[in-house]
């Protein structure tokens, strides 16, 4: 069947990352040896990245249904109803490995990929968020990676024209050889304009649109599923280069084409490129597809069928068009100076047939590449080292002598300090919807033409997940929901990005399974469905895995945009309330990492029912207009949360706070625990606020007052911190940048 292509052998299959069993299975499916092109198809589509072969059995546990879910997992992105005939499309993706190899282009093309996932659904992207993890900030390599990643995200998003409204940046030595670059995107679509990646209607023509195909990233999908070894930098020539300008044209042209009604199905050519599209689209529709590769627009000469099928050149899409309406689609792409070429058609027989110059080079059942890809239930094992790690008592370390200095240092720790250096490089306002810019608990965008707004956040804490994968992952869900709540929003849906080490190691797979269990529990308790997500395995270098890092992206709805609330204090004289339980711990805390340079201990307990009630109470107070600010207490504990509330707004405000004594001072000040919210309440609303909290039966108390220009904290009647606010503001503002000069 094939021409001058290499003969396929077991060795060659193994070099493509397939196991001997998998290779046997291919031969059984085909009833013969695969051609070289077919081997490429199987190796790409059966890779971890595309087939989810190690994670599928776990992902089934996630709660994905709710009345407002219009599209759950299984498409390019999830969709939830916003009312008023509008829907929100959301999805998060990782680009960890490419960003390590080439931080600028790796991160940039990560943004490009997630944007396409959103606009293939027919939605216009309205916001992105980026969740980043890097190694030791003192390491020059970290500086290089961070600078490149942020510049890449900035370049692609700004040029394309989508605002960035949030994200996170955290540092831990475990990410040194494997940074994380997760980007979330949301888009807005009318219900009657939702599109899906299905190749319906045998006989319909298949169109290739967008940029030309080169040899970019031919081993990308396989690379993302391979552990890094020393010398990984050698793999560099596979790097993809982004072109946000072409992506912007592709957006306008695709949305224009979808508007005509002439398009039946659409999918972006992301990981595994044309191979992935030409098998997944017919598989979802129960059809088949034929493509003629000589028609594919190419920018390099001499490309083989294997290369054309597997190329990961960016800014390309595959469209299935209603027969007879080709001209309408062609005209729109011509207007935007883009290629739109008919390269094949939908068939009825469930086969993918690939030809070049009429010569058949691959003939495979589409189901074999997709639904029938291998799924593994591999062994899991709780790591033996975990007990000792959890048994560590942070209070066995000496307490600091000077708590003022301790606060200043922790505020200047790069994970806690202001990330202004990062997001001032991102456009945050294009579209003029951004009501709350980066720098508060969540980004908030209005929905024009309605009274509504949406709030968006990403959260995750690898330290917590290492110490207790189930609770740590549940905490990420709880914190994301709390961030939305503090902004005045009711959580609507989750998109996740699950970053772990190699699933072939039982203890990593155990972490993964536990994390899924935790996400499921929290999502069930808080009634938030998971509508899309992504798994990124093999995040390790030389056998050392990253901290297990499930990132939770969450979107919430504000029925009234006016409910939006920011984290910073507003008026002198307001009372400061702490809503939520007392229990905190230094286990896995920022304090322990900063001062003890340790990771260990036990997490404070998470009571999901209490979490739900605290959030409901907070939202009720916000919706009743009783609250001037609300802020989640997270990394760094109560002292840091108070400081952030005092200094992160346009105006610095002093506070006087008195806390009851509750064990060692460092525990009271810097201990971390779930379900805690700081709210500031104007005097006139005090009584109403009190009765509302009683109604919701949540633990709460007033702990202080806003005013003056000093940050004063008493514990058990004794003054433990008393510094001018501008000093803490300075530490927090300059903490991040000092690593970057």
């Amino acid at each position: 069947m094939s021409g001058a292509e290499p003969k396929v052998t077991l060795d060659l299959a193994q070099a493509h990352g397939l196991t001997a069993e998998e290779y046997d299975r291919i031969i059984r499916i085909l009833g013969r040896e695969p051609t070289f092109t077919e081997l490429g198809l199987f190796s790409a589509l059966w890779s971890e990245h595309c087939a989810y072969k190690h994670s599928k059995v776990f992902l089934r546990q996630l709660p994905t249904r709710a009345p407002h879910v219009l599209q759950g997992p299984g498409e390019n992105a999830g969709i939830v109803d916003l009312g008023d005939g509008l829907a929100l499309v959301l999805k998060m993706e990782s680009h960890n490995h490419p960003s390590f190899i080439e931080p600028f282009q790796g991160a940039a093309t990560g943004v490009g990929g997630i944007l396409r996932d959103i606009f293939t659904m027919g939605a216009r992207p309205i916001a992105t968020l980026d969740s980043l993890r890097f190694g030791d900030p003192e390491d020059p390599k970290t500086r290089y990676l961070l600078g490149g990643v942020v510049a890449g995200i900035s370049w692609y998003g700004n040029c394309f024209g989508v605002p960035n409204v949030g994200g996170e940046v955290a540092f831990a030595p475990e990410y040194g050889g494997n940074p994380l670059v997760n980007v979330m995107c949301v888009g807005l679509v009318r219900h009657d304009r939702i599109f899906r990646a299905r190749a319906e209607g045998p006989g319909n023509p298949v169109f290739y649109v967008g940029a030309k195909t080169g040899r970019d990233g031919i081993h990308g999908a396989t690379m993302a599923s391979a552990v890094f070894e020393e010398g990984a930098e050698e793999r560099r020539p596979t790097v993809q280069v982004g072109d946000p300008f072409t992506e912007k044209l592709l957006l306008e042209a695709c949305l224009g084409a979808l508007e005509t009604g002439a398009v039946v199905g659409i999918q972006d050519m992301g990981a595994a490129g044309l191979a992935c599209c030409s098998s997944e689209m017919p598989a979802r529709a129960g059809t088949g597809m034929e493509v003629e590769l000589s028609r594919v627009p190419r920018r390099e000469t001499g490309m083989t069928p294997y290369e054309i099928m597997l190329s990961e050149s960016q800014e390309r899409m595959l469209l299935v068009v209603a027969r007879g309406r080709e001209a309408e689609v062609r005209e729109i792409f011509a207007k935007w100076d883009l290629d739109a070429v008919e390269i094949g058609r939908v068939t009825a027989d469930g086969m993918l047939r690939v030809r070049i110059e009429g010569r058949l080079v691959a003939e495979v059942p589409v189901r074999a590449l997709t639904e029938d890809a291998p799924v593994y239930e591999k062994p899991t094992a709780r790591p033996g080292w975990l007990d000792a790690l959890v048994a560590f008592d942070p209070l066995s370390l000496p307490a600091p002598r000077d708590y003022e200095r301790a606060l200043l240092e922790i505020l200047a720790a790069p994970t806690v300090a202001s990330k202004h250096w990062v997001y001032r490089q991102y456009d945050q306002q294009v579209g003029i919807n951004t009501l709350v810019l980066p720098g508060s608990d969540a980004g908030v965008l209005r929905i024009k033409g309605t009274r509504k707004a949406i709030a968006l956040t990403t959260d995750g804490n690898g330290r917590y997940v290492l110490l207790d994968p189930c609770q740590g992952a549940a905490l990420a869900v709880a914190e994301a929901a709390r961030n939305l709540t503090c902004s005045g929003a009711r959580p609507l849906a989750v998109t996740d990005c699950l970053n772990f080490g190699s699933p072939e190691r039982p203890e990593i797979l155990w972490q993964f399974g536990e994390a899924i269990r935790g996400i499921s529990q929290a999502c069930q308790a808080l009634e938030i469905p998971v509508v899309s997500g992504n798994v990124s395995f093999y995040n390790e270098t030389e056998g050392r895995a990253i901290l297990p890092t499930p990132i939770i992206g969450m979107a919430g709805l504000l029925e009234e945009a006016e409910w939006r609330t920011t984290q910073w204090l507003k008026n002198a004289g307001d009372r400061i309330a702490l809503i939520g339980p007392e229990a905190v711990s230094l286990g896995g805390s920022e304090y322990l990492a900063t001062f003890g340079r340790r990771l260990g201990g036990r997490l404070a307990p998470l009571d999901l029912r209490l979490e739900r009630d605290v959030q409901s109470a907070c939202r009720a107070a916000i919706e009743a207009g009783l609250v001037a600010s609300a802020h989640d207490s997270a990394e760094g504990g109560l002292a840091v949360a108070l400081a952030e509330a005092a200094i992160s707004g346009p105006e610095e405000l002093g506070v006087e706070v008195a806390l009851p004594s509750g064990g060692r001072l460092d525990l009271v000040l810097f201990g971390e625990g779930p379900s805690r919210i700081l709210a500031s309440v104007p005097p006139a609303a005090e009584r109403h606020f009190e009765s509302l909290m009683r109604e919701w039966r949540v633990p709460w108390r007033f702990i202080g007052t806003v005013g003056g220009n000093r940050f004063t904290l008493r514990v058990g009647g004794e003054v433990v911190i008393n510094v001018p606010v501008e000093r803490i503001a300075h530490a927090w503002r300059t903490g991040f940048e000092r690593y970057l000069v």
Partner: protein, 88 residues
């Protein structure tokens, strides 16, 4: 001593800037442009005289900083004092 470093995108690597400029030239009526790629030219003034060692150090600078080995190739040219530069 003066030196020039040319940094070019590797063959096969997408050059969106080059393609855009080519299209713009076409739009202005310059249809004779068959291909266009954009690179960087760094012109350096160095202490000391030209020498084999100087070239070695320049190449090292390129490998360590001036060129991105993932996407770019580089060439180093030393412009001897007093000679007419090769580059117009």
């Amino acid at each position: 001593m003066r030196a020039r470093v040319v940094v070019r995108l590797k063959r096969g690597i997408l050059d969106p800037q080059g393609s855009a400029v080519k299209r713009a030239l076409e739009g202005l009526g310059y249809r004779e442009v068959r291909d266009l790629r954009v690179g960087k030219l760094l012109e350096l003034e160095l202490d000391g005289a030209a020498s084999a060692q100087a070239r070695g150090r320049l190449e090292e600078m390129c490998r360590r900083l001036l060129a991105n080995p993932v996407t770019e190739d580089f060439t180093v040219e030393i412009v001897e004092e007093g000679t007419r530069p090769n580059l117009p």
